[in-house]
Symmetry: C2
Subunit: 314 residues, 2 copies
């Protein structure tokens, strides 16, 4: 941490970068660092390959995140929440754009790609940044507090996941005292579902089917139903995880009919390797989360997939 | 608070009661008080008209909650989380069963029905109980910590609603340090949905209706639908909050037909005082969360309620 503080103090121009497809911790941590550096009188810029998601646009400074990097060479690059440097963008060579690269992250498989690496097993990068700011005696302004609160809140699944420690809650309390608006932030981030996304999620849940034992649960979404509700594919984010969360369910499956075929998503809870099942069907993925795209009509695909699953668990 | 401490110290036999249709704060606070009183060597009993919801059965002592009251007269009755004494049960006269009645609650429209009343505008009754325990120098055991954590977590919608203050987070941190298992509790409470509860939630979301502006959203659950899905009232916990969470929605309403009438739950986002609306309809509650029970058929009740709401927002 001392090395990082020294490098920041010495640098005049700093670029802060975070990962593509950014989440609340990526955006919140990046803007917090940006605001702190500006407060110190540094020349600072922010980079993210993809746009700031709408739900984080309320954060002060979110409009200043850039999608391209200046050709200028920076004294310092600070990469946040990136397990390896390709997570920033495979088109950017960090060492080509900056004299020194700092890597601040909380993923256990981090590749230590920086000149200085701070990888801590904490709830979020925002929690690491908070500790860094305390060490650097940086004043936690209301704006910085909002950003760090968003990072901690989102990466802990709203204070629910493992790694949410008593200290995480202490920090959240301190940020709230510094001006982070707890309920406003939660509302801004979590309460942005549209009517049509609620209706399609409802339809999917209402149409839930299961094997006799209740160990396998699935739901089928025909294109016609999606269209009639004006639903988009992104409206279904998180649905198959919700199905896996049902009591007794070991394998959850979502079938949805799209233009390029029937998309099948698998999740498993404790025992089943759904990566193998997906591979049998021409797809792939992880042990507990996988997928495949099959051609044919919904009924046939469903029968074929369930047959494959029932070989392993019924 | 001093009066309450004195009354508890003097009492030998105490009955703790909470409201019908109990939630996490009702059950968690009641068991926490029970465990503390047992620790002090008191004769203590717990009463709730309705069963402890399955998701709270992991709490130590949940099996000791009784659905009927002994004919013995108690020295003291402590009612928790009840805005008025009918919330306990309309078949129980608190003054007939106890010498002194203590009323501990956080509903602003509490009727002050006790001989001693402690009504505080805090996130949860569990937060009030925590403060009481600190004042009484009661040791927060791991079991008590679990119970109070459940109360705070559930009544703040997992640290999201108004009234979640920095101090609420401090207390949660203290409870976690005393042994409350943050992620285990969240999983036990939020990830134990049954197939039928997922289906009924789905049906409710699929059947979502709204005013033309999208500011008022509601869903109607006829008893027949609930019965056909084998759904219970507790399966709908959190649903109306999800409806409020929809983009643009200012007021969300859940209508459900039950044996004793049509239950109507209101939630509001920023502007509308739904406590006033509920009062117009013979109910009560908070500014942002309230409810009423109306008699009549679903269609008539729906029309009557929407008329009342549309006077304020449309």
């Amino acid at each position: 941490m001392q090395k990082i503080i020294k490098a920041i103090k010495e640098a005049k121009s700093i670029i802060i970068l975070t990962h593509l497809d950014p989440d609340g911790d990526a955006i919140g941590s990046m803007i917090a660092v940006y605001l702190a550096l500006k407060g110190m009188g540094k020349k600072a810029e922010m980079f993210c390959r993809d746009a700031v998601p709408e739900m984080y646009e309320f954060l002060p400074g979110s409009g200043k995140v850039k999608k391209s990097v200046n050709k200028d060479k920076y004294d310092l690059a600070i990469a946040l929440d990136c397990g390896d440097d390709k997570r920033v963008s495979n088109k950017i060579d960090l060492r080509a754009i900056a004299g020194t690269v700092i890597n601040i992250d909380h993923h256990p498989d981090n590749t230590k790609f920086g000149d200085i690496n701070m990888v801590e097993k904490l709830s979020s990068v925002a929690e690491i940044i908070y500790k860094l700011f305390v060490k650097m005696k940086i004043k936690i302004t209301k704006d910085i507090a909002q950003c760090l609160y968003v990072g901690i809140m989102t990466d802990t699944g709203n204070f629910r996941y493992d790694y949410t420690t008593p200290e995480t809650l202490d920090i959240a309390a301190t940020l709230a005292r510094a001006g982070a608006k707890i309920s406003r932030i939660a509302m801004a981030v979590y309460e942005t579902k549209t009517m049509s996304s609620v209706r399609i999620l409802g339809a999917a849940m209402y149409r839930l089917e299961s094997s006799e034992s209740g160990k396998v649960a699935w739901t089928v979404l025909p294109k016609q139903l999606m269209d009639s509700l004006g639903a988009k594919s992104e409206d279904l984010t998180g649905l198959v995880d919700q199905l896996r969360a049902i009591k007794g369910v070991e394998v959850a499956i979502l079938f949805r009919e799209e233009d390029d075929g029937i998309k099948v998503n698998f999740r498993s809870k404790f025992t089943v390797n759904v990566s193998e099942i997906a591979q049998q069907l021409g797809g792939g993925g992880h042990i507990r989360a996988s997928g495949a795209i099959l051609q044919g009509n919904l009924d046939n695909v469903k029968e074929k997939v369930l047959n494959e699953v029932f070989k392993v668990i019924k």
